[in-house]
Amino acid sequence: MRLLDVIGPVMIGPSSSHTAGAARIGRAARSLLGEDTARVVVGFHGSFANTYQGHGTDRAIIGGLMGFLQDDPRLCDSLALARAAGISYTFKEVRLRDAHPNTVTLDLTGASGVHVFVRAASLGGGAILIQEIDGLPVRVSGDAPTLIIVHRDTPGVIAKISGALADAGLNIANMQVSREAQGRGAISVLELDACASESTITALRAQQGAGRSPASFGAAGQSPALNDIIRVTWMCG
């Protein structure tokens, strides 16, 4: 633990888990969507479901989705700002199995129609963990620069990704791969030691296929889009 984490962070109250962590989850979800939000359905589980209004968890999630940081005073007014920006939001209570008490689900639709489902937990002290993206299990803390790639489960994809990072001189600190089923949708999460440049991300995105989520694979055996990399998402700060 660093000394500036003991006295800190600077944040909008009242709670590091229910407010600051929620804002960070919203911001992470915005990165995962990769564009402005048009519609979102927020599901609150456990302690979040019981106390989200009094803790401003709803405002923090929506503020985060609009890109506000955990210390941005606009978090308090985010619901009005979202309405003014034409963002449609709904809050509901959900009951999840074996979930952390501060868990939230975000069903997001972007301005261009892109869709992402995210499940995340706020662990306390502002720390978060993204646990599921589009039905695939992940563990993303968002503390390090993170590259999240949805791809086809096929030989050579990982080499393609790590090759692009090697070409850019980027070191991989941590890597997880999980898949829906053999030959179908998979997701790779790569934590890096430094932020990737715009050109590295562009190079990876240039290999994106037509599909936008593992769901687009359809039935097994059906051939996916020409390319193996489906979606490249990037979180840095």
Binding site: M1, I7, G8, M11
Partner: protein, 293 residues
């Protein structure tokens, strides 16, 4: 034992040198940041603390839940003789106001948590006001450098508590939140008033022995009642503990051992008493009625 895990260890490692300078240079070596960058980051936190105090005393708003609001400003403006005297009135008013401001979605510095965020700034602001004009050592003003030094010493104390016990109410009860904040604050005050590292350690021990076993029992699950009043408790406690340590009173139990005891007590606390809103103040019939709205 590494300095992250023991107050005694970092004091001994520092030796006879300046404690804050030692802590900052060790932190610089481990983070790759320069001492100046670290000091600048802490100075930003101090600026946010001062701004939160000023905004908090101006605010008469209620919190989102409606349970608190305006009490700190009311105490600050109280127009009658009070038994606690000027210093305690101001310290309590700042702590209450900042804690209420936090509940209104105000911008604060977690120290070490948002729920305990009033204690450290309230004590420092009061101590500085107290000192201005009277100081034989520092003349009219305490230089900002000294405040930053005091904050780094407080952070080092908080880090040991986080490592050896906990600073989370859900894990260790309120002793972990307001107790840790009071201990960090007692440390900061001792350093601010020219105390030695050994005196600082005694001040920390005094604070933590007084909050041992304090449960976390927020009404309705909100960081408000009793939390905002526990911030008042914490600032009064920190001032008294620093006073005792600076007067040369010594704790016979080292701070590190008290932190270990705090951990054992926190581990043995039932879940109802650790930020679930089910026990303590939260379980009172009136509290349950409030929580239902």
């Amino acid at each position: 034992m590494p300095k992250e895990d023991s107050i005694r260890a970092f004091i001994e490692e520092c030796g006879t040198g300046d404690l804050a300078a030692y802590l900052i240079s060790a932190e610089a070596a481990e983070t790759g940041l320069s001492a100046d960058e670290l000091r600048a980051s802490m100075a930003e936190r101090w600026d946010v603390m001062r701004a939160s105090a000023a905004a908090a005393l101006e605010s008469a708003d209620r919190s989102l839940s409606g349970l608190t609001g305006g009490m700190g400003a009311r105490l600050y403006a109280a127009d009658r003789a009070l038994p606690g005297g000027e210093t305690l009135r101001k310290a309590a008013a700042y702590a209450l106001a900042i804690a209420e401001y936090n509940a209104q979605m105000g911008r604060i510095v977690a120290a070490p948590t948002a729920g305990a965020c009033g204690i450290l700034p309230a004590a420092l602001l009061t101590a500085i006001e107290q000192r201005a004009g009277h100081s034989p050592v520092l003349n009219n003003n305490i230089p900002q450098e000294l405040i930053i030094d005091a904050l780094f010493c407080a952070a080092a104390v908080g880090r040991v508590i986080a490592s050896r016990a906990s600073v989370s109410g859900a894990q260790g009860g309120c002793q972990a939140e307001c107790g840790s904040a009071a201990a960090m604050t007692a440390a900061a005050l001792t350093i601010l008033y020219g105390g030695t590292a050994a005196e600082m350690e005694h001040a920390v021990a005094f604070a933590l022995m007084n909050t041992m076993g304090l449960v976390c029992d927020p009404v309705g699950g909100f960081v408000e009642i009793p939390c905002v009043f526990r911030n008042v408790m914490g600032v009064g406690l920190a001032l008294s503990c620093a006073d005792m340590a600076l007067a040369g009173i010594k704790s016979i139990i080292p701070a590190d051992e008290i932190i270990d005891a705090m951990r054992e007590v926190g581990d043995s606390m039932p879940a109802q008493l650790k930020e679930t809103g089910l026990g303590g103040c939260a379980a009172c019939p009136t509290a349950r009625a409030c929580a239902r709205g």
